[in-house]
Amino acid sequence: MSGRDRTPVDDAEVCVIGAGPAGGLIADRLAADHTVVVLDAGPRFDPSDRLERQERAIRPSYDRPDVWDGDPERDAHAASGEWFYPLNHARVKGIGGSTLHWQGMVMRLHEDDFNSESARGVGVDWPIDYADLRSYYAAAERELGVAGADHPYAPPREEPFPMTEFEPSYSDSLFADACERLEIDMHPVPNARNSESYGDRSACVSYGTCQPVCPSGAKYDATVHVDRAESKGATVIDRAVVGRLEHDRDRVTAAVYNTPDGAEHRQKADVFVLAAGGVETPRLLLLSESDEYPEGLANSSGLVGSFFMDHLFAGMGGLLDEPTRQNHVGFLTSECHQFYNDADAEIAPFKLEFFNYDGPSPVTMALTGDDWGDALLDRVRADYGNHIGMGALVEQLPTEESYVGLDHDQTDPFGNPVPDVHWTVDDRALRTIERANEIQREILTELGVEITWQVGPDNTGPAYHHMGTTRMSDDPADGVVRPDLRTHDLQNCWIASSGVFPTGGAMNPTLTIAAIALKAAGHIDEAL
């Protein structure tokens, strides 16, 4: 449908809230056999606008949230924690969700990530194991289309990746000698990005603007699954902001949503799937408080919104006295998980990344300088060409002090309190950032790099992965959802999100979100 008729669907069996990868995959899995409606707060973007969005990505006058029409009023939020959290750089609202903007690296969590407390002595164990998710991971890789190759540090897998990996970059080849001398292994990054054509999506053609927009569609985004769900009969309603879940003691009865014309609607369904991401999902549960559930819905544990986690970035880079060929593509081709499995109570798991786009690109330098003509040419020639850098992602532990709550002093255009991301980071994560920096310094020094920048414990920032806020647990007292992703409290309400991760690991979360969504879809199908 065009998205203009935003009235509820009669006799819906499944109402999915959120059209990112979690909601998209579930809608796609269920649409053939059930009446499915998907509600998303953001707009449906016209695929033919992507080059215009690419221009916004390149031009300095646009901020990242502008690329996908971020709306400061709709997306208002607070960040009352010790650490500022830039929420609107960390998500996109609209059909496709945050994958419209994402980078698209997709790794499976390692086996110990599911057993952090027993294997590493910190965090909490998941109530499920890697083995429980393994077949869902394989299915998720097929759904997204992942180009990758196995390596010795990854958890066991039974079949090859759906696509061959991207070749290492020239920049990787510079790192390779130094890493070999230091006995540090480099291996390919699994990318949700086509190294060859995949289904009806083209191979990557190297626009280089993957994050925040891929004009060719070679980078996976969740419009793939939302479109497919629609073609199977699902109804997708955009600009439908769900502000409350009506319920009785045991069940959600309706999702109440607002549309741009100012109308309020109630979508009834047999089953509700909350897939609004790791911040908006707990917010919606808290907004749905009632006499029955004064602390918010699905919150008899009191843990809705608790244990907010992200991954921390650590990085370093500088200049080499030879060409490094950065900024040809916008994705990474090599990484290192060698130190990941050494994690313990003192040092968190972390992975290392080898950049292909360190330093400014010529076009950005041209658009932001005070010069033109030959002076500009001289400046760009002097500054482009020799940058080289590394990144790392580090796990943070779940702690009570880090949470998503409501800010009752500020409301969105519909009068609902905005989310407050109260973010703090534990000392183990900060120590691990130092450890990652040490290894980065060792590699860059071996390579002969003059180090010019570092992101360490004092200036680290988040990787935009929202985890922990609707934790999965066996015991209803310890979490919000059961291992089958249904909320403990409500019989017809499921959550598919990185919010269910009890401990986060240090892998980008979306492949695990996709695996969990597929698992949830199976359970929902059974329940229906």
Partner: protein, 194 residues
């Protein structure tokens, strides 16, 4: 370095006029055209002169400004800019912004120098752009004059150059950001080897 029609269509393809490949044959003589693969795309576009007379003045003005903004070693500016503008000067708000920024620039030229930009020496155009403040301004399509000129004129032209393969090559990147140059280049070393 010679800018070709392929460069202009590549810049258009990067910036949102994907029909670009059919544009621009009339702006290049066959001498300009260094990319042999592209020549057959020339044939059916020879009469697509869409611009009004007003736009002709606009085009000449932008060509003159590009002569100042682009490094001296860049050749083929007129054909490149005109082909780029074929794809950009439609009835979009962006094109209107370009038209109005050029009008403002011309008004300043006439007020301060008594001539239109097309009749100015390069050094005078350079001076005019600096006096307006377009060199130090941050681009902003809705900002004051300097920021609008920076957005719609200076950065419009720099964007076209530096998202094109030849513009990239000038600074050592034959597959610049915004250009869909294929998966070959990122694995190659500086000499073209692996």
């Amino acid at each position: 370095m010679q800018l070709t029609r392929r460069d202009a269509t590549a810049a258009l393809a990067a910036l949102g006029a994907t029909g670009g490949i059919a544009y621009g044959a009339r702006h290049f003589t066959s001498d300009d055209e260094t990319d042999a693969d592209d020549t057959d795309a020339n044939t059916d576009a020879s009469d697509d002169t869409q611009s009004s007379e007003g736009d002709d003045h606009l085009r000449s003005t932008l060509v003159a400004v590009a002569g100042v903004l682009y490094p001296n070693e860049v050749e083929g500016i007129e054909g490149f800019v005109n082909t780029f503008l074929d794809g950009r000067l439609d009835d979009s708000p962006h094109a209107e912004g370009v038209r109005s920024a050029i009008q403002t620039l011309d008004e300043h030229a006439e007020a301060w120098y008594n001539v239109k930009i097309v009749d100015m020496e390069s050094e005078t155009i350079d001076g005019l752009l600096r006096e307006i403040g377009a060199d130090t301004a941050d681009e902003d399509p809705n900002g004051p004059t300097a920021e609008r000129i920076r957005y719609y004129v200076v950065n419009e032209l720099l964007l076209a150059l530096f998202t094109s393969p030849t513009g990239g090559e000038l600074v050592g990147i034959e597959n610049p950001i915004g250009h869909a140059g294929g998966l070959g280049s990122y694995t190659q070393g500086p000499g073209g080897g692996q």
